[in-house]
């Protein structure tokens, strides 16, 4: 599924990477606020849903080759994070949905879990 379709489903605003979102294809996702769990359990190139907004989310994404991060509960990334995402070529989105609701909508739309 294109990242732009994902944005539509969860009514998300694309903060960074509008120009690459259309061509970014994502089939699996992971929702977590614990970055070590993301590192331990993610195997594929997932979309990461998180309510955590600190630079470590970007570092985790960099390590795990994650290209799409969706901030839930309306969380706003800092300028530093936005800059890091630009440099790393990562798409950042923000939805007002809660983690549960955002994951539920995407699962229903056919996005799979990473296991």
């Amino acid at each position: 599924m294109r990242a732009t379709e994902i944005a539509q489903i969860i009514n998300a605003e694309i903060i960074v990477g509008k120009e690459i979102a259309y061509d970014l294809d994502v089939e699996t996702a992971c929702g977590s606020d614990l970055m070590s769990d993301v590192i331990a359990f993610v195997k594929e190139r997932v979309a990461l849903l998180s309510g955590l907004t600190n630079p470590q989310v970007l570092r985790t994404a960099d390590l795990m080759d994650i290209r799409l991060i969706i901030f839930v509960r309306g969380k706003k990334p800092s300028e530093e994070m936005i800059q890091m995402a630009r440099e790393q070529g990562i798409v950042l989105m923000r939805t007002h949905d809660t983690m549960f609701v955002a994951c539920g909508k995407l699962y229903q739309a056919g996005i799979k879990g990473d296991s």
Binding site: D33, L34, M35, S36, D37, I39, A40, S50, L52, N54, P55, Q56, V57, R59, T60, D62, L63, M64, D65, E80
Partner: protein, 141 residues
């Protein structure tokens, strides 16, 4: 080739820089992506441990034909029970640290899973040294 990184205490803006920098260096060397990912993940966990628990410290990374050896050294409080710290989900991180997304208790297990060898030496009130080795696949330079 030996590369050294300084890891500041509780600086979450800087923490993780060593592992992401190493990931990019190893990519430039043309090493296999799966190996690079294992090194970067294990280094990241070690780096975060030093920033969170070890009062800051340093990392020395040696790249040779035998593989990649990483050594993380801190002079923090030490680990009282290494076996317990190795258990998945066990963490002594504070509530404040957990709120920042750490303290899942997966750090040492993640290192063990990704490194070919892991040696932890720790002395209470003196510090901890974590050494990891990653073998190069046969045929790599």
């Amino acid at each position: 080739m030996i590369i050294e990184y300084i890891i500041p205490r509780l600086d979450f803006s800087a923490a993780g820089k060593a592992s992401t920098d190493m990931k990019h260096r190893l990519t430039q060397l043309g090493l296999p992506p799966a190996l690079i990912k294992r090194v970067a993940i294990a280094m990241y966990e070690a780096e975060m441990n030093i920033a969170i628990h070890g009062d800051g410290g340093r990392a020395e990374i040696e790249i040779s034909k035998d593989g990649i050896t990483t050594c993380f050294i801190d002079h923090g409080p030490g680990i009282p029970d290494i076996e317990l710290a190795m258990q998945e989900g066990y963490s002594t991180a504070s509530e404040e640290i957990r709120d920042m997304g750490f303290g899942a208790g997966m750090g040492l297990p993640n290192m063990k899973k990704n490194a070919d060898e892991l040696i932890i030496q720790s002395e209470l009130n003196k510090g901890t040294t974590v050494q990891m080795h990653f073998r190069l696949p046969a045929g790599e330079p």
